[in-house]
């Protein structure tokens, strides 16, 4: 059996990876909470952000953490345009159509990246990619410690935006009562697009945090998309605290099952949780009964 240090280290590293998962799920759950759509293109949009970070690093030698400052506004704008001018008009407000349009978009994005960048996996080498932080007897991966810190900061920032700004107020109003919000003069398509844009900006932050220790290929996002859905369903569709706790839990589960069953079977734990939650408690831990 493993020594307790190895188990605790693995679980802590899993917890910190879970924080980045949570950041990805945060955008997904926010979009669901306001627009009531399952954004199937979320994984593909993460891949776009990761490629953007990679290009900035490979072409201009920019540090992946610093590149968030450029990629986040770009992803914000991209998300806004996507929702306002493509997803919204093309789906005529029908649930099933939205699902199909976002599925179509994910295929388009994934394969456009495949045509542009080929299927090679790409990494960024920084001098801190493999650095470890020593805390007592424990060795923790430096990029993951940073990931945890930045996730907490981003969540706080998001909370401030949602609770302390007019845009945030409008977003919460539309989430609660769409018709009422539009009656008092809030432009619902604009708020939808803003929400989608914020979700995409979260992805940019996640991309910057992932790239120093992870790789990107056109298919990378697809690997994250089911994990992100699992987190969102586990935490409760539309619930922000649910996404955070769900993310940390999933990180733990992945680390534990990876440790005991090996990497290839490790993912099964996540999907089984997903299926069980969907079948027996589709509202998740913090979701509201629809």
């Amino acid at each position: 059996m493993y020594s307790p240090e190895i188990v605790i280290e693995a679980l802590l590293n899993g917890l910190m990876l879970g924080a980045i998962y949570a950041l990805i799920a945060l955008g997904l759950t926010l979009i669901y909470g306001v627009l009531h759509i399952v954004n199937f293109a979320h994984g593909a949009l993460l891949t776009v952000a990761m490629f953007a970070v990679w290009v900035l690093s490979a072409r201009f030698g920019m540090d992946p953490y610093l590149s968030i400052a450029i990629v986040a506004p770009l992803m914000f704008a991209f998300g806004y345009v996507l929702q306002r001018f493509i997803i919204g008009p093309a789906s005529h407000g029908k649930d099933n159509s939205i699902l199909l349009v976002t599925l179509g978009l994910s295929i388009i994005i994934e394969n456009a990246l495949l045509a542009g960048f080929q299927s090679d996996t790409r990494t960024i080498n920084t001098d801190y990619s493999f650095r470890v932080v020593e805390i007592g007897p424990l060795l923790l991966s430096f990029p993951r410690v940073v990931g945890l810190g930045v996730t907490v900061l981003t969540t706080l920032l998001l909370w401030l935006v949602l609770n302390r700004t007019d845009t945030g107020k409008a977003i919460r109003a539309v989430a609660k009562e769409k018709l009422g919000a539009s009656l008092v003069g809030i432009s619902v398509p604009h708020v939808y697009a803003m929400t989608f844009a914020i979700g995409c900006a979260c992805l940019a932050v996640a991309a910057g945090l992932l790239m120093p220790s992870f790789y990107v290929s056109p298919k990378t996002g697809a690997a994250f998309v089911l994990v992100a859905f699992t987190i969102v369903v586990l935490g409760g569709m539309g619930s922000v605290p649910g996404a955070l706790i769900g993310g940390l839990l999933i990180g733990l589960v992945e680390a534990a099952s990876g440790l005991f069953f090996g990497d290839s079977l490790g993912q099964i734990g996540i999907f089984l949780i997903f299926i069980v939650v969907l079948l027996f408690k589709p509202t998740g831990l913090f979701g509201v009964q629809q």
Partner: protein, 327 residues
């Protein structure tokens, strides 16, 4: 009413049966076989997604069960190919009923149903990729043995006819669906399942039968795929590509119509092949085209190409266009 609707179905099958004997090239023949296999998978998707309104994102689960059953039963247990085909279809239907039982008991529909089917297909993929029974990551190879008993033919046109026969069965099954009480129940619960239930439709049983039929057709497609390529691995059998192509073909052609999936498969794969040829083999470009077509279809012709063609045809002859409800 009864016999007339079958005329276009018979015509389509007859045309497709004649084409291979017009001296087409080997690669075109291969493309046709592949088109028919995807059409069959899409017909399966259409029963549940088109008529029942339950969009599955994981029909690979049924395709894969069929493909693996075909491969393992023959390669490992030396079973007769036709028997393996029947068992493969039955196992697919059973797996469909199993997933359906769990999901419909919990009342899953819409995006929740789409996600849970996707997760089932992924679990199947990971298990097939690591179990010894399926040949693990190396996959399972079928022996090359020519002969009717082995469902392998020296003349590939014969194999095309076999696949086409299954597509014809799929067309007939869908046509039956449109004219049977069962199909009417299914459409009723698509439009409003609470109202259907209030009127006395046993919603759970109808959905269960629909997913079993849907899975059986897609499993048959998986069986024929394995038989055609004589090789199966987890990423082929349970990969998301087949879930996506089955769904795309049905929706682009016209979900909830008899000929839609067949037309969708021919149009999509034809365009995909054309893109591959024109672009000189840039990877992913054909799928990119699929995605664009899907989004355009949902935006401008939500009822698919079939309805679009029908509308154009009727309008030209001076009749008012059929609305989606009537069609």
């Amino acid at each position: 009413m009864t016999g007339r609707g079958l005329l276009p179905v018979a015509a389509a099958v007859a045309v497709l049966a004649v084409i291979p004997f017009l001296g087409i090239s080997g690669s075109l023949l291969n493309l046709m076989i592949f088109m028919m296999i995807i059409a069959l998978a899409a017909q399966g998707w259409n029963v549940l997604g088109g008529y029942g309104g339950l969009s599955s994102f994981g029909h690979a689960a049924f395709f894969g069960v069929g493909a693996y059953a075909m491969a393992i039963l023959q390669a490992r247990y030396g079973l007769n190919a036709w028997l393996a085909l029947v068992i493969g279809i039955a196992l697919g239907a059973l797996f469909g009923a199993f997933i359906g039982f769990l999901s419909f008991r919990s009342g899953l529909k819409g995006s929740y149903f789409a996600l849970v089917t996707l997760a089932f297909a992924e679990v199947a993929r990971i298990l097939a990729n690591s179990a010894n029974f399926t040949g693990g990551a190396a996959g399972t190879i079928l022996n090359l043995q020519s002969g009717v008993a082995f469902l392998q033919f020296a003349d590939r046109r014969v194999f095309l006819l076999v696949v086409l026969a299954f597509v014809a069965i799929g067309l007939l099954a869908t046509w039956w669906l449109e004219h049977s009480r069962f199909g009417a129940y299914l459409v009723a619960l698509r439009e409003n399942d609470q109202a259907a239930q209030a009127l006395g439709v046993d919603v759970f049983t109808v959905k269960l039968k629909a997913i079993a039929l849907s899975a059986a057709l897609t499993a048959a497609s998986g069986c024929l795929y394995a038989q055609d390529y004589l090789f199966v691995d987890a990423n082929i059998a349970f990969g998301s590509w087949i879930s996506i192509e089955a769904l795309f073909a049905a929706i682009v052609g016209g979900a909830g119509t008899v000929l839609g999936p067949l037309i969708g498969a021919i149009v999509l794969l034809g365009l995909g092949e054309l893109t591959k040829g024109l672009s000189g083999g840039i990877p992913g470009l054909d799928l990119l085209v699929f995605g664009v077509i899907l989004v355009l279809c949902v935006a401008f012709s939500p009822n698919g190409l079939v309805t679009l063609l029908r509308r154009l045809g009727i309008e030209r002859r001076g009749f008012p266009a059929k609305t989606a409800k009537e069609a």
